[in-house]
Amino acid sequence: MNIVTLSFAAFVLVVLALYYLLPRRPQNILLLGASYIFYATWSIEFPFILFAVTLVSFVLAQRLQPTETNATERRRWLWLGIGFNLFVLVLFKYAGFFVDDITARLSSWGLTHTEGLEILLPIGLSFYILQAISYLIDVSRKQLPASTDMIDFALYMAYFPKLTSGPIERARAFLPKLNAQRIVDNDQLARSFTLIVVGVVRKLVIADSLAAMIPAAYYNAPGTLSVVNLLTYALAYAFWLYNDFAGYTSVVRGVSGLFGIELSPNFQQPYFARNFTEFWNRWHITLSQWLRDYIYFPLSRALIRRNPSRWNVWNILLPPLVTMLLSGLWHGTGWHMVVWGGLHGLYLVGERLFGLWRPAVAPQKQPRWRQVFAIGVVFTLVVIAWVPFSLTLPHATEFARRLTLDRTLHRPSVRVLVVIFISLWIDWVQYRRGGNEIVFLRWPRLVQATLLALALLAIFLVTQATISPPFIYQGF
């Protein structure tokens, strides 16, 4: 059940109607049931995998309590829990690699009936596995007690607005919300509705339009396109990806707000970032924070313990590179994802090296022209990195070669630029107010209503124009 469909809207309305009638504890039970039903609409097998991951993580977390076992044993239980979760992730997400290889080998031996080997990637698996791992680590670090309530913990793992593509919530922030007073008043309703409308506009009007405007040749034969078109479509891809995921996040945060449960923001106008550290604090924020807390910082701390010098080369190189390479692999298998992660790792290393001989000045304290220049540089390098993210390595190479060979000039597609302009306008409005996503609520009612009317008209017209592709991040 895709979240920008009328069936999802009907599903949410039914759940909401029941939810508002119930006290808090039954509300959680209702949300848990609804989440599993929602998940089963994707595939009937998926809830079983989710339940297995939930149950194992819940039980193992009990063993991580300081009162239960000694430190060595706790470490053992922790690694067992992390290992189990990683095993599930590798089995379902990366097994395609091995299955393809095994299938090819078997068919070369004449065995062609290999259908049973196919493994379906459960939607959202990459997201809830990270939640389970963070929960186990946080319990072992004594940052939160192991949950004693299976219902609440299962809801933390399965809560349907965030199930398929995040945000990746932390148990220590999310679990208390399940026991806190939830209020949906006029203000909350307006916030939620605004988030939903902005999200749907981002997804349907901007992301889906841009997706449709990129021809298949961009992915399959970039060498056949002119430089102007290649650059235009690379831009289109950058804004498609961003609006697709930011739109999704906005919608699910709005929906969750209707239940009185606030989800973490995931995007904050990332293409206005003035350095790469800032970019990763604005792009897929919950994943960035997860990688920072569970990979970057531990690795950096371990390296600093060995050599506390600020010129420790390993500490300059390894944490960003390892973190971003793992981020690349989390997004997908294939060397092109490694290249994407490697590029971002190098960007961060470059930034750290730059900071060693030139004292860092907070971006907002720099002169305006330098801020604008920095935004341009960061954006350009990010778009360059999206090329191997979106294309296979041979096609990315073909793309790069074409840039040097083709000399034809023509006008870029105006349609692409118009849609990108809408995206930039929304970002700019929010950015000016410190990243406030619901800044529109501060505007006069007539302006709000006019914008809403235009948004509704645009959504209707765009849905008449295209078939909706699924959210990109559901594939990760």
Binding site: Y19, Y20, L21, L22, P23, R24, R25, Q27, R182, I183, V184, D185, N186, L189, A190, F193, D208, S209, A212, M213, I214, P215, F259, G260, R415, R445, L446, Q448, A449, T450, L452, A453, L454, L456, L457, L461, V462, Q464, A465, T466
Partner: protein
């Protein structure tokens, strides 16, 4: 007063302080809306209605020269309806519609037909070629009702070959799905559909539908399908190569012909068409191709005869043509299934003459 005391009876005296009960299983107070709410939403709907009205007025006033569409997944259907609407708007009526698959699209030139008919009878006819790629009888049954109801032609000529009813004809079901899923078609068939209603009543919406592929990389070519649509609907096939029988393969349904029940149902629906004179017309095929039919040309003719018998039962004439050998060898398209432009001119002229004779002899009320 320091200690609170739970009253033993149903109410407590005013000096007894009752501690609040723990919030277990208390009734939810999650939803705390205050009236009024939703004014912005209401205002937005009012603005939307106003905006839509303005767009509608603008479309009716200023966009007459721009294409419209009904919003079908089948672009052929969109373009055909648009061009036919244009013809009716310009001429005031359409007298005859030639309907069928690509063999009709490439095989009958309405202008040539009208010219010959005028030479024969002195009467001016306004005709349109509604040939659609890959159409078969199942889709024809649906569309024929709509064509008659919308355009009221005096004559509907359905050009058929055996493919129209053959099981396994390529794309038959896809076309059917594309056509019957079209909201405007559903609305025309009596099923209420908001998009269908809009496509039928709103000029602004119909104009937008013609431009709805604005997000597609092929937008320019799709739009040119509308702007370059031939006014008569006829698309000539200019053959560049002579027939090469070594290259031509018979379709699969020639090897084992079976009637598809869905197409037969559509055929019966077509025969039941009321309100206009319907004529079934066998579209010619080269004799060498018919020889490849399972059982040969005689078996092919027998199949056509069986369709003719079914048609006759409903008082619908079926005019057979293959046995007349009207088309010379060089006047076929390279695939041997379609006529080229020269063949279409011959066939269209013959059809006009035949119709004129049929009318003159009272075989057809037209």
């Amino acid at each position: 007063m320091g200690r609170s005391r739970k009253p033993l009876w149903g109410f407590a005296p005013p000096w007894v302080r009752i501690p609040p009960s723990p919030p277990i299983m208390t009734k939810s107070s999650t939803l705390r809306l205050r009236f009024p709410f939703g004014q912005t939403l209401l205002l937005a709907f009012l603005i939307l209605v106003l905006l839509s009205a303005l767009l509608e007025v603008a479309a009716r006033q200023f966009l007459d020269d721009y294409p419209t569409a009904i919003g079908s997944a089948n672009l052929d259907l969109d373009v055909k309806i648009y061009a036919l609407d244009q013809l009716v708007a310009e001429k005031g009526r359409v007298d005859c519609i030639f309907f069928g698959s690509s063999v009709v699209l490439n095989g009958i030139d309405p202008d040539r037909f009208a010219l010959t008919y005028r030479e024969q009878t002195g009467e001016d006819l306004i005709c349109y070629n509604f040939g659609m790629l890959a159409l078969t009888a199942r889709t024809a049954g649906v569309l024929s009702e709509i064509l008659i109801e919308r355009y009221h032609p005096r004559l509907l000529v359905y050009g058929l070959t055996i493919r129209d009813l053959a099981a396994g004809a390529s794309d038959a079901n896809r076309i059917y799905q594309d056509v019957t899923r079209t909201p405007w078609i559903r609305y025309q068939r009596g099923e209420f559909d908001v998009e269908g209603w809009l496509a039928d009543h709103s000029h602004a919406y119909r104009h937008y539908l013609a431009y709805r592929s604005w997000i597609s990389p092929t937008f320019a070519s799709r739009l040119s399908d509308f702007t370059d649509a031939p006014p008569s609907g006829y698309v000539p096939f200019h053959a560049t190569r002579a027939l090469d029988w070594n290259q031509i393969e018979a379709p699969l349904y020639f090897e084992h012909f079976e009637i598809d029940p869905a197409d037969w149902q559509g055929f019966e629906q077509l025969l039941a068409t009321a309100g206009t004179q319907l004529v079934l017309l066998e579209m010619p095929l080269p004799s060498q191709l018919l020889a490849k039919f399972s059982g040969g040309a005689e078996a092919y003719a027998a199949s056509i005869d069986s369709f003719a018998a079914a048609a006759a039962a409903k008082q619908v004439p079926l005019w057979t043509t293959t046995h007349l050998n009207l088309i010379p060898d060089e006047d076929w398209a390279e695939d041997a299934h379609h006529l080229n432009n020269a063949g279409a001119q011959i066939f269209s002229a013959w059809l006009a003459e035949y119709l004129a004779q049929a009318v003159e002899h009272g075989q057809l009320r037209f």
